[in-house]
Amino acid sequence: MNQEKVDLLKKIENNAKLSPLDWAVLDAVLEEQQESSVELLSYLQDDEPSLTWRSALNEKLHAITQSRPKRSRSWRLVFLSSTATTAIAAILFLLVLPFMQNISMHGESDTRIFLKWHEEAVASSFLPTDALQLKEKHKSEHVQEKNDIDDLIFGEPLIDL
């Protein structure tokens, strides 16, 4: 057992990988050492901290306990104020929303009006693409100017020749 223990100690000190047999030896050694090691450590003095230590700890714990409600109150204030702000913002938004919709509708009708104007303007500035169309256009534009007396004196306008 002693030689196995020495070998095991060397392996562990050298960080060598332990075999299943090594682990079994380790368990046995630890079991064997258990009682004497615990008994040795029992020779250490009891470590009861001083009353001063305990008193200081109690004061710190008391301070934490006292600060807890304050913190919760402050968190409640933060929560309430943020909720109130959100609610006011929501109400304002609901009040403003109809106006925004109205503006949006007006905007749409204006667009339609502009489109209509544009179509009329395009129609009025229609340009003929060939001579026959040009002649018809000229005729229609000069219908008012045609005079029978002029025709009688000067004959048919040159353009109609």
Binding site: W23, S37, E39, L44, N58
Partner: protein
């Protein structure tokens, strides 16, 4: 040697009433400060003893052990009641000690010359003055040996052999595999054994 006192201490730890802990923790979660005071009463000696041996300075140990209870009090709501309260408390203690030791290593202000070992304590192991003196000297030797253990070996030895926690609990507290707990415990005990052998100049102590 007189081992009776050690056996009494062991049985005191072994009889740790987890049902009582669970009840007190439940009361703490309902903002019952008195329940936490009772938990401090139950664990202050164990936690303080563990922290004092993990750290080298008594002053640091007092500060850190207070911090352990303060952290536990502040985070009691996050404690999962299915786990053991003592495991959770020692996990907090171990983490705080490791943080403190790392800071000290960085600051490089702690050396072996600053070890604080209280040798004024009296032991009631025996009424015999000679035996009492031997016990006291042995205790000092053990204290020195523990202090000189590495930061990896020390918590394993203290948690297992002094605080009587199991391998699984220690693995959880230190966030290491159970196998590592076992191998470190073996190494720590071997180190302790060397010290005690030197003290007695005998091969028959362990």
């Amino acid at each position: 040697m007189e081992y009776q006192s050690g056996a009494i201490r062991l049985s005191k730890f072994a009889s740790g009433n987890s049902a009582l802990d669970a009840s007190l923790v439940s009361r703490c979660k309902h903002r019952d400060a008195e329940a936490f005071t009772l938990l401090v009463d139950r664990y202050q000696a164990r936690v303080y003893g563990y922290v004092r041996r993990m750290l080298r300075s008594i002053e640091d140990a007092e500060d850190v052990s207070q911090e352990v209870f303060i952290k536990a009090f502040q985070n009691i709501d996050s404690f999962d009641s299915r786990a053991s309260f003592s495991t959770w408390l020692f996990k907090i203690a171990s983490n705080l000690c490791i943080d403190k030791l790392r800071k000290q290593e960085k600051e490089n202000r702690v050396g072996f010359e600053s070890l604080e070992i209280d040798d004024t304590v009296s032991f009631d192991k025996s009424w015999d003055p000679e035996a009492s003196l031997n016990a006291k000297e042995l205790a000092i030797a053990i204290e020195k040996s523990i202090t000189q253990l590495s930061n990896k070996l020390k918590p394993v030895l203290l948690l297992h052999d002094q605080q009587n926690l199991g391998y699984e609990e220690i693995a959880e507290i230190l966030s290491i595999p159970v196998g590592t707990v076992k191998s470190r415990l073996f190494l720590a005990r071997e180190e302790l054994k060397k010290t005690v052998k030197t003290f007695y100049r005998s091969e028959d102590v362990l």
